[in-house]
Symmetry: C2
């Protein structure tokens, strides 16, 4: 059991100080003391330790009008690196950053890997990305991998679009690189990214609409994944009794109506095409193709049902939508909001993704920051307009 001890006090206060420097820095000892409620003596002692551990450094003095000039403290963001991977079905994206998520390099690789060579493929990709980074005191601090499926942190439990289930991703990579490795669902990483960089509220739902439909759930500032990592699998909530058949065995699952896959394949079928990309579909829509218009109308309607259901289930501060359609067709967002206003007496805040296609990668970075520092990163300008 967790008992209170002197170590615990120091831990709590040390994290509090570090959090203040990380998220509000540069900042002086006196300002930290005023904001946190810790005495100046305590702050000084903790800061000395943080400087010793190369997490914090003194930079010049601030210009104030009166009194002794404060010594500003700054988080040593470049003393280590983070590696974040988006394990897509068609592409693998590798992103490296400093300890505040600042871009240190992004590489995209086609995903030709099979079940047999995906792990060694990732090792190759990671080594390639790391080779371009300068030496730092901490080196690599962790690896986050976003997958399109359910995970238990180490393995993929269930993923519809690739055959990687049961492979010990995190174990192998962490053996190889000697750092913590987190394997997490893409919707979950995505919502973490949105929270840390854009919409900093305690209860945030990220609605991710890509091939499938998933929700990342943050409750009381913590990611909620359920007992098997299956929470937020709203693609298989039923919104139409006796509706379309779903591979999952049920009828009328949301994913059969409101996913990219559903819309694109319906479009391809009607137009008798072999397949269609989201870019091709967007072009058709922009050129006024009536089929595309009708399908996107359907999409809007079903997404607003999904949001309605999430609002009535979670009553969160904010719901943030991320989908290829809303990225490619910005006006879509207002149309979804209009539909929703018709549905909901009690209106709630629906906002567009602030990070769009890099939300997974930045969310991964935040996960590693939290693990390495024990403190949640929150970008200074993470108060995007919410209305």
């Amino acid at each position: 059991m967790i008992t209170g001890s002197k170590k615990m006090i120091r831990d709590i206060n040390s994290h509090l100080v570090l959090e203040t420097v990380l998220n509000e820095g540069p900042v002086s000892r006196a300002a930290i003391s005023a904001r946190s409620g810790l005495t100046k003596a305590t702050v000084s002692a903790i800061v000395a330790d943080l400087i010793d551990r190369q997490l914090v450094r003194e930079i010049g003095s601030d210009d104030t009008s009166l009194g002794r000039k404060p010594i500003l403290l700054e988080f040593c963001k470049e003393n280590g690196h983070i590696l974040s991977i988006d394990l897509g079905v068609n592409a693998i994206t590798a992103f490296t950053s400093d300890l505040m998520g600042n871009d240190c390099g992004l590489k995209i690789f086609p995903n030709n890997y099979t079940r047999d060579n995906i792990i060694s493929g990732l090792i190759y990709i990671i080594n390639l990305s790391l080779s371009e980074l300068p030496e730092t005191p901490f080196g690599l601090t962790g690896i986050a991998i976003g997958v399109h499926g359910a995970t238990n942190g180490n393995e993929i439990i269930f993923a519809p679009y690739y055959d990687y289930s049961g492979l010990p991703f995190a174990d192998r990579l962490s053996e190889h690189f000697h750092v913590p490795v987190f394997l997490e669902n893409e919707a979950n990483l995505s919502v973490i990214g949105e929270k840390c960089f854009c919409y900093n509220v305690p209860n945030l739902i990220g609605l991710s609409v890509h091939s499938g439909v998933g929700a990342g759930i943050i409750i009381n500032d913590e990611l909620y994944t359920g007992i098997n990592g299956n929470a937020g699998e709203i693609g298989h909530t039923i919104i139409n009794v006796n509706g379309r058949e779903c591979p999952c065995g049920n009828h009328g699952c949301l994913e059969q109506y409101a996913s990219e896959r559903a819309i694109l394949s319906e479009y391809a079928e009607i137009r008798r095409l072999d397949g269609v990309t989201i870019e091709e579909f967007t072009q058709a829509y922009n050129e006024g193709d009536p089929i595309a218009l009708r399908l996107l109308d359907q999409f809007i309607s079903y997404i607003s049902i999904a949001v309605n259901n999430l609002l009535n289930t979670f009553n969160p501060d904010v719901i943030v939508i991320n989908s290829g359609f809303t990225i490619n067709i910005p006006e879509l967002h207002e149309l979804i909001r209009d539909q929703l206003k018709n549905r909901m007496k009690r209106y709630c805040t629906l906002v567009p993704s602030g990070l769009q296609d890099i939300s997974i990668l930045l969310g991964g970075a935040c996960l590693i920051i939290k693990d390495f520092l024990g403190v949640s990163y929150c970008a200074k300008d993470s108060s995007f307009k919410i209305d």
Copy 2:
């Protein structure tokens, strides 16, 4: 901000000791030390303080084979009382208990009260209930009120079946009785009761099917109510696009298919009755009335959809169902489980309510215990069969 301090350590450890005595008592100091990881010295100091505060007392020694006999410690459950109210549409139930939720009296009153006299009516009812209790050191420790609607803790925000919205229930009663008063949704209290007395798991969803349909949500051992107390309003999640019209303005809300109100009114309509109670309906069902059979079949089907959607959204440890139908017709539970097994590849644990019609009242008691002691009560036999 919350800083670590000596007071905080003592608080944490004191609560840890009290929790052990409350939930695992009678128990000796040595046993508390072994279980919690605190040293014997710390436990002794804290116990002395708890005895001083009349929360814990020493009872006789235990019979052990070897060594000095331990002094058993017990929680002073009868040193205070709790009052719990179920503010039903037709009836108001008042329940008094000791500090472990043991029955000290239950009274049922018809609810003839209007918006103008409901608060004074409650004061009358509460005084009547309190008048039968013996004097205790702490006296009344708190009042919990379960309402059939959404609340913000003090007022009713929205309740479809009575006109009490906006009345300052908690403020008035707490002024009058000088104790904390909690106004909470019935589904929320219900799930608290199920957790504390029956199914002690960290992530528990309580599906309450009465006039409407609501879910109580416990995540990481904490009740989650959303930012306006509207979380769990799953009666208005849409499960049938273009389905039946709902007073909320949408079409196809769950509540139009799977609530007592929906089933009973459909039955009354078909049978051309003025209205029908759940008892009358149950009788018809038991006598083999084909309409009742068909409607209950529909009920099972829609409830299994609701459970499917909750499972895919929350992936909890357990979902517990509480409804007038399952209470009156026990075999219903297995039928719902069978339906669900067809739907879900990943099967999850669905269990029947352990507390049935008193879950709201006992949940209210647990809420007060938590507030008064700062510790969650968990009944010793709260490990009901889960399969």
